[in-house]
């Protein structure tokens, strides 16, 4: 469960160009929810994902992950939290170019100290689910965009995080690949009880998610479950 209480975030605070990127956000996201943050460009979707993902700090308010207050953690603790509880999927795939697919997927697990055999098993499992098991030895730049993004999703889920944060994961994909990717993520979400949070404009995602939070100008304008 993720709980946000009166979260505010500014950029350039105190300067004339100050941006109030998040305004009094209050949200509770239950475990296993499949949520979309949507809204016009610049409304604060990415910023919200980043503060939830402990990539960025907020200026006031608290964010809890389970009982833990993320907003009170030190930088080292936040890094650790990201490693152990979060998975990230970026718009630009952001795979590690020097590692092959198998190593990329297993990377977070390796960092967390899983055994080689566990890693191998799990990598194969998620790769099969995401239908990239025949590409395990390829380097990322030998894959199509859709395949790369599936590897990115596989990397994010492999170590069984509690939350996956996906910022515009389909922005670089065609609709067919987007559909495949979202379908697979939905399956992972249901099977592994991982909360998945999207930030996107994509209609496709809108149709698949269980909850849509609309942001306007940094504030929650609408929140409904379907």
């Amino acid at each position: 469960m993720i709980k946000l209480q009166n979260v505010n975030k500014y950029f350039y605070r105190g300067e004339p160009r100050e941006v109030h990127a998040l305004r009094d956000i209050n949200l509770i996201i239950e475990a296993g929810e499949f949520t979309l943050f949507r809204g016009p460009s610049g409304c604060g979707k990415t910023t919200l994902l980043n503060v939830i993902g402990a990539l960025d700090s907020c200026d006031s308010g608290e964010i809890f992950l389970q009982e833990r207050e993320i907003t009170a953690l030190s930088e080292g603790e936040r890094t650790n939290l990201r490693l152990h509880e979060m998975g990230f999927v970026f718009q630009a795939y952001n795979l590690i170019p020097v590692l092959n697919v198998e190593e990329n997927i297993g990377f977070v697990m390796r960092l967390r100290g899983f055994s080689d055999s566990d890693i191998k098993k799990r990598v194969l499992e998620v790769a099969t689910l995401l239908e990239i098991d025949n590409k395990l030895k390829s380097l990322p730049n030998a894959l199509s965009g859709g395949q790369q993004q599936r590897v990115a999703v596989a990397r994010a889920v492999a170590a069984k995080p509690k939350i996956i944060l996906a910022d515009e994961p389909t922005a670089n994909l065609d609709s067919k690949n987007s559909e495949i990717l979202i379908g697979m993520m939905r399956e992972l979400n249901e099977r592994e009880e991982i909360s998945i949070l999207f930030a996107s404009h994509d209609e496709l995602i809108m149709r698949s998610v269980t909850r849509i939070v609309t942001l306007i100008d940094g504030a929650v304008a609408d929140d409904y479950k379907q």
Partner: protein, 406 residues
């Protein structure tokens, strides 16, 4: 992390190669530079010591500044008996130096004429090995004179010719004799070769009333590095405040000073050299890292700590440094070794340094594993320092900010 670093270095072949080549070149240059500097200093020192100056010399106080018969060492035997007991001394010899006029029928020249102990000089100095013609002195040489080749030329003397000597004996009385040129020598130092001649003490002492007296006692050590230590030992053992015992550092102050100045310039140019290496490697590393900010940002996002990032950079530079130095060190060491045995010959070098007694146009390298070791240490240190700034630069971005970096 190590594996990732290794893969990075293998993946980005171009920049890995460039970094390794930079390190390779600087390692070689650095080792050779130091080796050359040390080698030439050692050579200067060795040559000048070998010719005539001892590692330690004992004088009566004021002899060196004022000179003259009042400042001769008296009762030499008592002192040499004491010296004989010091382990670290390889050999010692007494010299009686005086100045006089040497002349034949047409020419005359002032010269230092020194009474020496020929057998001992063979061990102590390179006088004997400087022989060009004739036979070196021995204790039965009688009135044989061993003459600098330039002096012989000046006086137009050849082997077997006679030359008149006029000087003053140690008691101040008039001394004159006829010497015979038995041999000539050439040290390479024009100064020395044109103003020095030697007579066996066994003969000269009679002429000069110099028995058991000496201008100074010259000492050769088993190991020149012990000079300071042995010197204080000598001072204690002799225990005579009218005498002074001086090491080569004092005796050849001019030369030592010039060597030190040389060394200071050496160190200045060396540090410039290192600064250049440092900046080249660092700027290069910085450019590399800048182009990878995004990648590092992704790693930070998915949970790598700053320490992990540092490890990656560290291992990368470590791998490349090891690679470069493993290749460079044997090459550099071999070059040093080769030129320490077969010194580079540069015509004219001896002329520049002849005042200091440099005999040969040779510049030997110094082959010293310890020196090579610390050289390598410096290279590694520079390489590691060179990743600090790029590392700080990476950290100046937040993880997410970095993923957006272009």
């Amino acid at each position: 992390m190590f594996k990732l670093a290794l893969k990075n270095t293998l993946f980005y072949k171009g920049r890995s190669t460039a970094t390794a080549v930079l390190t390779f070149a600087s390692t070689i240059l650095f080792i050779l530079y130091i080796s050359l500097t040390n080698g030439s200093h050692n050579a200067i020192l060795e040559n000048s010591l070998k010719i005539y100056t001892g590692a330690i010399e004992i004088y009566h106080k004021d002899y060196r500044d004022i000179g003259g018969n009042e400042y001769l060492i008296q009762n030499v035997k008592a002192i040499t008996d004491k010296l004989a007991k010091i382990e670290a001394i390889e050999a010692y010899s007494t010299r009686y130096e005086t100045y006089g006029l040497l002349s034949n029928k047409e020419h005359s020249a002032a010269s230092m004429v020194a009474g020496i102990e020929p057998e001992k000089e063979k061990i102590l100095s390179s006088l004997e090995s400087a022989l060009t013609e004739g036979a070196f002195l021995d204790k039965n040489s009688a009135n044989c004179v061993y003459m600098g080749i330039e002096l012989a030329k000046k006086l137009k003397l050849g082997i077997g010719d006679e030359v008149a000597f006029i000087g003053s004996a140690s008691d101040g009385s008039f001394a004159a004799d006829i010497f015979r040129v038995c041999a000539t020598f050439k040290t390479g130092s024009f100064e020395f070769d044109s103003s020095s001649s030697f007579i066996a003490r066994s003969y000269f002492d009679e002429l000069m009333y110099a028995k058991n007296r000496a201008s100074y006692i010259t000492i050769k050590l088993k190991n020149i590095d012990d000079a300071e230590k042995v010197n204080s030992q000598i001072i204690t053992i002799i225990d005579d405040e009218n005498l002074e015992s001086l090491t080569w550092k004092t005796l050849m102050r001019n030369m030592v000073e010039s060597m030190e100045v040389d060394a200071v310039f050496g160190y200045i140019s060396l540090s410039l050299f290192m600064v250049v290496i440092f900046f080249v490697i660092m700027i290069y590393g910085f450019i590399n890292v800048s182009s990878r900010i995004k990648g590092f940002g992704v790693l930070r996002c998915i949970g790598l700590s700053k320490r992990n990032i540092f490890s990656i950079l560290f291992y990368e530079i470590l791998i490349l440094s090891i690679l470069a130095t493993v290749l460079a060190t044997p090459i550099a060491a071999y070059i040093c070794y080769y030129y320490s045995i077969n010194p580079i010959v540069i015509e004219g070098i001896a002329d520049i340094y002849k005042d200091y007694g440099i005999v040969l146009n040779e510049i030997p390298f110094d082959f010293n594993l310890f020196t090579i070791g610390w050289n390598l240490g410096v290279i590694y240190l520079l390489n590691f320092l060179s990743i600090l700034y790029p590392y700080m630069y990476i950290n100046s971005f937040g993880p997410f900010e970095a993923t957006r970096h272009v």
